[in-house]
């Protein structure tokens, strides 16, 4: 059973989103996603300053099994990227919710509400199976 924390929002494409105290949104991939991918060996992050629209490809997570695109769950500007993932990609597997890939300053805060909650994401994963 994969872990789906209830305080996060999710995209059907398996990214999680967390609203931070400063209004930015951190993005990573879910436990379900890391389990399906297997050992992560490389992560490609967006550039700071990049403007993303919701659903746009924002990076790549490459595992021993396959390379998988990561999509921006909401629109906005990339304000930070997690360089630590470059040196320790395996943390995506061991701590999927502690391993943020990038932070977006949202251009439209209501987009966060359009994402799935934990229950909705679980239903989405079950439907995929």
């Amino acid at each position: 059973m994969s872990d789906i924390p209830s305080d996060l929002r999710y995209a059907a494409s398996h990214e999680w989103a967390r609203l931070e105290a400063d209004g930015s949104v951190s993005v990573g991939i879910s436990d379900h996603a890391q389990e399906a991918l297997g050992d992560v060996v490389y992560v490609e992050l967006p550039e700071i300053g990049q403007q993303l629209t919701a659903g746009q490809q924002a990076g790549v997570v490459e595992s021993v099994k396959a390379a998988s695109d990561i999509y921006a769950p909401i629109s906005g500007e990339v304000v930070a990227i997690n360089d630590q993932l470059t040196d320790a990609p395996e943390s995506v597997n061991s701590e999927p919710y502690g391993s943020w890939f990038f932070r977006i300053q949202p251009s439209d805060a209501s987009e966060l509400d359009k994402l799935l909650d934990a229950e909705g994401y679980k239903a989405s994963c079950d439907a995929e199976a």
């Binding site: 297997g38 050992d39 060996v41 490389y42 490609e44 490459e62 021993v64 390379a67 395996e90 597997n93």
Partner: protein, 360 residues
């Protein structure tokens, strides 16, 4: 539901992620294939390889039969216990399978691939016509491989005195029976280790003892990255029925002498040998971030194109490696197309790691 080895329930109990492999339900990993890979290179680990096919060949014509059937020459096996690696070819010189053959007390023991079982057995039976020989599959036997620098010592601690004594004596690439077990100092990882063939009913307890003593179970994911680092071919990827051993880095396994030994595929292979422009199997190393994968196109400037046959991330090197079939004129640099972009790679010998040491 695929076929299951006698260790299936234990794999589940050990937390294995199971996948289909050639019609068998096998453990891909037990948590992390990268971690399992490191465990084998640094210490040791145990693999369930019971899906492999064990075939005993006996009878007055056993030797003559195998000298006809196999591209390597069993006459090279000078005493009981010696083993060799060989291809079994079709009439076009293409590889039907690759296998290991041991000279046993009586006749020979062959270990062939799981995915080619039916094809191999039919082929071997068909070619037994006219030879006084019995070709007998041994499906009631299971097989466990314990591999790594400490594999032999750790295993010897856990088995009977007679078996421990054999483990200590066995030279590399030798295998002998002890009671109803057969122990080979062989493997598919590039490390020292053992492959133990034993009655299926005894395999679960033996695996429990090994794991109970702290020897970690290792899945197929790590098995693939280990063998790739060691430059060991995988049938169905690095060679097929349409690929000759000369194009698969297996030229050294073909015994041309004595010239009078007419093995299946010899004529086709002789004709090929006379050509100087055969594609060759080489190693590739990607110095940048990314993973090389089977079927990616390889481009050699001014020479032509080839294809990756096996590729993966190498945990020991920390970068991607591959085996690739490239044109004869390829030098030490090439480019690989990964998801629409070209990346430079180093072209190297097709062996990347041996006994834990990086060679490239």
């Amino acid at each position: 539901m695929g076929q299951r080895t006698p260790l299936y329930d234990q794999h589940l109990a050990l937390g294995a992620k199971m996948v289909d492999f050639g019609g068998w339900d096998m453990p891909l990993h037990y948590g992390s294939q990268v971690e399992e890979h490191h465990q084998v290179r640094r210490d040791c680990g145990v693999f369930d390889v019971s899906h492999m096919t064990v075939v005993d060949v006996r009878g007055a014509d056993a030797k003559a039969y195998l000298q006809r059937l196999l591209a390597n020459d069993v006459d090279r096996l000078g005493q009981v216990g010696k083993a060799l690696y060989t291809a079994m070819l079709n009439e076009r010189g293409g590889v039907v399978d690759d296998l290991i053959v041991y000279l046993a007390e009586e006749g020979y023991r062959l270990v062939v691939n799981a995915s080619t079982r039916d094809k191999d057995l039919a082929w071997m039976q068909a070619h037994a016509e006219g030879f006084a020989v019995e070709v007998t599959e041994r499906p009631e036997l299971a097989m466990l491989a314990i591999q790594g620098p400490h594999a032999r010592a750790r295993t010897a601690e856990l088995v009977s005195q007679a078996r421990a004594a054999l483990i200590q004596e066995l030279k590399p690439f030798n295998g002998r029976a002890v009671g109803d077990w057969f122990i080979g100092r062989t493997g598919y990882t590039g490390e020292d280790g053992l492959e133990i063939i034993l009655p299926a009913a005894e395999a679960p307890d033996f695996l429990s003892e090994l794991v109970g003593a702290g020897i970690p179970p290792i899945g197929l994911g790590a098995r693939d990255t280990l063998r790739l680092e060691a430059g060991l071919n995988l049938y169905g990827q690095d060679m097929t029925e349409d690929v000759s051993p000369l194009q698969a880095n297996m030229g050294w396994t073909v015994a041309w002498e004595p010239a009078e030994r007419d093995f299946v595929g010899r004529a086709a292979l002789e004709a090929q040998k006379a050509q100087s422009d055969l594609p060759k199997l080489v190693g590739l190393v990607l110095e940048e971030r990314g993973v090389l994968r089977a079927h990616q196109i390889v481009r050699v400037n001014g020479v032509g194109e080839g294809e990756i046959t096996s590729g993966s991330f190498s945990p020991t090197l920390g970068k991607a490696i591959a085996l690739a079939r490239v044109p004869a004129g390829a030098g030490d640099r090439a480019e690989v197309e990964i998801r629409g972009k070209w990346y430079p790679v180093r072209v190297v010998q097709p062996t990347f790691v041996r006994h834990g040491k990086v060679l490239v």
